[in-house]
């Protein structure tokens, strides 16, 4: 679809190019992920004065060219900014991780308004949240679990993924180290990598899935928190083939970073 377009976008990455240009990876509500070059972006206040910056809802005017994968960004207009994020180092750390996460878990030219709105809600939530690393983490884990759901492979937290036994009726709950979800003692196969899941971990993961009401006490249980993080990481490893670059900064902002994989 060559020609001029206007979309709501988030900037997922920006790389300086040549003397004054910028190449941005954008996530458009109606177009999905794509790359665009902004000519003279580093000098022009008129067209890009609002800034090609991540963690802002922007309206972008751009031209798609028939002979190139790279669209041409004509101008940008800030529709919504999140000063609460930009004013706090930990929020920037969480927001950056979520932004890189989005970049890695989306694909070019696949419109995903559901994911786009999810990311927008995450930024808004982060913007308004108290600067408490645990509350910021709830927002991030919720985003991650929702991403899994929208991408069609959420970890099953309610029943054994092999026999369907509900978790409530299990004496002991196991999780596969490779992700996927929960299995019951009867379904554990010899030699397969599993770990016992604490009941608090399940409670915490369910809260991350639908964070309504008062956070459970499990949120302050560092073992349960560490285990919940590992289960989310294991699920994420199905989608990610590398460690995210923003991860070291995120770890400095997490409460009890512990031993993360």
């Amino acid at each position: 679809m060559a020609g001029k377009h206007t979309s709501l976008v988030f900037v997922l990455r920006k790389v300086e190019y040549a003397e004054r240009d910028v190449i941005a990876t954008l996530f458009a509500r109606d177009r999905g992920r794509f790359s665009a070059i902004a000519k003279n972006a580093r000098g022009s206040k008129r067209r890009f004065g609002g800034g090609i910056q991540p963690m802002r809802l922007l309206r972008a005017d751009y031209t798609v060219r028939t002979n190139s994968d790279l669209a041409r960004l004509e101008s940008i207009d800030v529709r919504e900014d999140f000063p609460g994020i930009e004013g706090d180092f930990d929020k920037i750390a969480f927001g950056s991780y979520a932004t890189e996460w989005t970049r890695e878990l989306t694909v070019d030219a696949d419109p995903r308004p559901d994911l786009f709105d999810l990311v927008g809600r995450f930024y808004r939530r982060l913007d308004r949240a108290d600067c408490d690393p645990l509350l910021l983490e709830v927002a991030l884990r919720h985003l991650q679990l929702q991403f899994f759901r929208y991408l069609g492979s959420p970890p099953n937290l309610d029943e054994c993924i092999r026999c369907g036994t509900p978790t409530e009726s299990m004496q002991k709950v196991y999780a596969l180290r490779a992700g996927d979800g929960i299995i019951c003692p009867d379904c554990v196969r010899t030699g397969e990598g599993v770990g016992v899941v604490f009941p608090q971990t399940l409670e915490l993961l369910r809260y991350f899935r639908a964070p309504q009401g008062r956070p459970p006490d499990a949120l302050t249980n560092s073992d349960a928190l560490a285990q919940a993080r590992r289960i989310i990481d294991a699920t994420a490893s199905q989608f990610l083939d590398r460690r995210l670059k923003s991860r070291p900064t995120l770890e400095t902002s997490l409460k009890d970073p512990g031993e993360l994989i």
Binding site: R13, Y17, A18, E19, G50, G51, I52, S246, R247, P248
Partner: protein, 204 residues
Amino acid sequence: MKSDDPITNLVSAFARLPGIGERTASRLAFYVLNEPDSLADDIAEALMAVKDQVNLCERCCNLTQAETCSICRAPDRDHSTICVVANAQDLRAIENTGEFDGAYHVLHGVISPLEGVGPDDIHMSELLERLQSADANGGTEVQEVIVATSPSVDGEATSLYLSKAIKPLDIRISRIASGVPIGSELEYTDKSTLSRALSERREL
């Protein structure tokens, strides 16, 4: 990868420079080839000299030919005020305004969580050392830090990190005013906007 063909090697060497694509690189290579030898000699000499003779000021990390740069050595400047910039181009832009008579610290980058650039990847520890001990700042105790990073997410992250690190010390910290448009870069900001941003800096 090195090939046996010197022209190919020159083209790929030029293409490694920022802002130079394959086509420009080959145009430059053939230009050098067709000009008298003196051009190639001059370029080669200047390139070697810049790497041999220019290093980082041991105090502020500015580029210098001596151990400490001319700004750090200047007796008439206020060495108790440090303006923190991302790179030497930004230092030059601020110097050009003629509005600032303190000292600098050049980070050679900014903290960028999204790109995996943390405080240890830039010259942040040298700055913190200067703030903690007068010895590391040529004998003058630091009273004020002005953070002059670009008003971008990374510029903010750098400034927020710094203000957190400085908190326990008795040092005033301010951020240049955002007369500098959001998302723009210091290096490309005009003189008057930049001097206004400096004089209207806000305390952090």
